[in-house]
């Protein structure tokens, strides 16, 4: 799958993480800016979901399809679930939950890269 897409997502996740850490240090609850960053991240993840499935259908590679698609779908769900969880905690707990979500997204991107490359399952 298009390598630059992983890059875009990792950069988005990284920028969002920095934003969240800064506000965590300031002991602030989740801000509008965080949710905007999450929306951008989510759009990118949905694009990746579609691009990934199309790429999987076309590829000659030996990719474990079920694993790959389940990672794509899970990854697109994480920011949504994280955002809802954080809305229920208007304190630094909510900000922490967003940070946990964004770290998970980054981790899943790395796993996606591995699965597409055929390293590990």
């Amino acid at each position: 799958m298009t390598p630059w897409l992983y890059g875009v997502l990792l950069v988005l996740a990284g920028v969002t993480a920095v934003l969240l850490v800064v506000d965590l240090v300031r002991d602030r609850s989740a801000q509008d800016s965080h949710y905007i960053a999450f929306a951008v991240l989510e759009v990118a993840l949905l694009v990746q979901l579609v691009v990934g499935i199309v790429a999987l259908a076309r590829t000659e590679r030996d990719v474990e399809g079920a694993v790959f698609v389940s990672y794509l779908v899970t990854n697109a769900l994480i920011p949504v679930v994280g955002a809802f969880f954080s809305l229920a905690e208007r304190s630094r707990v909510g900000t922490t939950i967003l940070l946990l979500a964004v770290v998970t997204v980054a981790g899943l991107e790395v796993r996606l890269w591995d699965v597409w490359g055929g390293r590990g399952a």
């Binding site: 694993v67 899970t74 679930v81 905690e89 707990v93 939950i97 946990l100 979500a101």
Partner: protein
């Protein structure tokens, strides 16, 4: 104060509020991850590493139980969560150690191999966070 239930909030919900909500989020992710992993491992080649794969399944069940009990709350939920998280701690410590010492036992990885290295060592941190939270939310004696 973090995690102290506000007046009017029932004890039953306290487990999944405040920092408990962050814990539920992470436990939920691990429940999904471990279940997915063991489903793939057992579904594809169950005979390759029976021990590692059964442990993946055990981990999956423990994460599911812990997540559910945190969400359900109450005295019983608190107690069962305590048992699940304790077994989880034992599991990650023993499997983590064994995966370094007796490599031949684990031809394939589990969530707990090398103390959860493949998951940013979160599987090692999680039971400690869980036990600390349960200690914090200990229900008053009846």
């Amino acid at each position: 104060m973090v995690g102290v239930p506000e007046p009017g909030v029932t004890q039953g919900n306290a487990l999944s509020q405040g920092w408990g909500r962050a814990l539920v989020f992470v436990y939920g992710i691990f429940a999904v991850a471990a279940t997915g992993r063991s489903a793939v491992q057992l579904g594809m080649e169950p005979d390759r590493a029976p021990l590692a794969y059964s442990l993946s399944l055990v981990a999956a069940v423990l994460y599911l139980v812990a997540t559910t009990c945190l969400l359900l709350g109450g005295r019983t939920g608190w107690r069962i969560a305590g048992v699940a998280v304790s077994i989880e701690l034992l599991g990650v410590l023993s499997v983590g150690t064994l995966s370094y010492v007796a490599t031949d036992l684990f031809p394939d990885k589990t969530v707990w191999s090398h103390f959860g290295q493949g998951y940013g060592f979160l599987p090692l941190v999680l039971p400690f966070a869980g036990l600390a939270w349960l200690r914090h939310t200990r229900p008053p004696r009846a």
